[in-house]
Symmetry: C2
Subunit: 348 residues, 2 copies
């Protein structure tokens, strides 16, 4: 933790832009004395915001002027072709050139995925990047879910690679040598699901580097029985966002129920801190950043409507991933698997 860290931030993304990214950046340099932040965005806007917060001349907050912004409704292909001077693109280029060890953005997810893939490139042997996040469980340790939408549909080999990458991320985060990996399916029995799922299960089952546990149903995501849950992006995105929706609904129904009687109104007032804390704990939206894995660099995606604290949580996540050297560890694992495969082929 004592070596110097440099992280590039896309300051202009998300619903709030510098209104949340500037306070988050200031909190981050206070929190990490070894952290330098490269603030990518419109120089005038950023300098003004820094001045307002009395941090204009902070030696570890360095503004990198970018002329363009990738907006939320910008199509990925358009962003890739026409937004070469955007804060998002420059933040990624800083990682590519080695000036930063990671980047964080709360901008347009599709554009970030395309740009990150294009600028940083895949690690050798990996087919597709995946978006991974941790979610709370009934136990103390969280569960890691991937892919959350980087790849709408996935072939069995891609799902298998996600299992390997998820296992490395969870292993480092939870300090476990053999994290338990499950495949999300519509039933726990072998006959359940479609062919792609069954083939992916076979690949995971046969791999000696994976502690594969079998299928996991949606109702079991939060049980804490698995450390990693693998699914294709379409399904992962729906599962994650359905959680957001139902968490919001439960909180709304609960506060409405409490409003019905004066007695419960008083209770509700007394319970406010508990309810607030709980909502933050269980709403994945509020939980932290999601990371792109499989690339030659660390990219953390913060939620579009991230508050200061949520954006700071994404910076925290980037710091942790730099310290854990996730991309190198993924690369080593895939190289080792390729060697095992070669050896078994030459033996045959």
């Amino acid at each position: 933790m004592l070596t110097n860290l440099t992280i590039a931030l896309d300051m202009m993304g998300g619903d709030y832009g510098p209104r949340s990214s500037i306070p988050a950046a200031i909190l981050a340099v206070k929190k990490y004395p070894n952290l330098t932040l490269l603030l990518c965005g419109n120089e005038d806007v950023l300098r003004q915001a820094l001045q307002k917060e009395s941090h204009l001349d902070h030696p570890r907050l360095i503004v990198k002027h970018c002329e363009q912004v990738v907006t939320n409704n910008c199509e990925p292909a358009h962003a890739l072709r026409n937004k070469r001077n955007s804060s998002m693109r420059i933040a990624l280029e800083l990682v590519k050139s080695g000036q930063a060890q990671a980047c964080v953005s709360s901008g347009n997810t599709g554009a970030l995925l395309s740009m990150a893939h294009y600028v940083l490139k895949m690690l050798p042997g990996i087919k597709r990047p995946a978006l991974i996040t941790s979610m709370p469980t009934e136990k103390k340790q969280p569960v890691y879910l991937l892919d959350l939408g980087a790849n709408v549909l996935c072939d069995p080999e891609t799902l298998f690679q996600f299992a390997i990458m998820g296992s490395i991320v969870a292993g480092e985060a939870l300090d476990k040598a053999q994290p338990k990996v499950s495949l999300l399916n519509i039933g726990a029995e072998d006959i359940k699901g479609h062919d792609g799922i069954k083939q992916a299960a076979k690949l995971m089952c046969e791999c000696e580097h994976l502690n594969y546990q079998g299928y996991c149903e949606g109702s079991d995501i939060f049980s804490g029985k698995s450390d990693v849950i693998v699914c294709e992006g379409f399904v992962g995105n729906i599962a994650l966002k359905t959680c957001e929706g139902i968490a919001k609904l439960i909180m709304l129904k609960f506060t409405n129920a409490l409003k019905k009687h004066f007695f419960y109104k008083v209770l509700a007032f007394l319970l406010r801190p508990v309810i607030k804390k709980l909502y933050k704990k269980v709403n994945p939206d509020q939980y932290n950043g999601a990371s792109l894995v499989g690339l030659r660099g660390i990219v953390v995606k913060s939620h579009g409507n991230a508050s200061n604290k949520a954006f700071l949580a994404a910076i925290d996540e980037a710091v942790r991933e730099v310290n854990r050297r996730i991309p190198e560890k993924i690369q080593t694992a895939f190289e080792r698997m390729a060697k095992t495969e070669e050896a078994s082929v030459s033996q045959d």
Copy 2:
């Protein structure tokens, strides 16, 4: 509501068998004076259970002896071939022969789907049956979600047919002439999702009989903006079960948080009725039965671990569907669409 109703119940299914189905049947005949129930299952077991509840000679509780039971781990193909005298099969046969107007089972979902498809057959022009249920929303009216797992993968035409069927079910239930139909996707923009989703969206958009609203994200399922949300079975099952999982997690975290201090413990005790009521409201598991639509008959699937009340809720649902004549209305709609299509073809 005054005409006589007859519903066949599979008494042996689910985790509790007659322990929940007998009390539910007794509650149902008390609730509906015009309802006769055909209780399919082992005669000795059922008579003994009825006697225990002092309802052995109730004139509207008629035992139909069945020698076999479809267990939870029985494969659908095996059930279809070898369980012709099971309570599940007999209940379906009673619907087919017209002796019952609907059937309810809390048994093995896969087996029920296969048997119902085989025994009752599809309505003309409909490709696949779908499992549909209502879920709570932020507004007063629920939303109808289909398919929940009857079809793992679906082609665009099948998703389109689900939209039509869902629209009829929701229209009748919510008393709306033009229920709002959305397609579940990983983003609201047109460019989001895979080809199958985009093709299904095109079919829905072009259909004059549908009030199609566009894509809906997972986080928007419970907003109350849509009356019907369409997805393929894999995705619907994951969404539904993820809700069960997160609802359970939230309740657990909430009660744990309340246990931490004596003050909150007292509050928790006072709040018990509100929490209990809320859990029932938002946990789809507890909500009610799911129905199979698209078949020549009414089949309601109650959850496997349904309590007396939950099984009664499934009987309630069957009663409502008989009164609403859902299968006839679906048939009429598809016939009308086929005629419109023929007319437009002959005009061309």
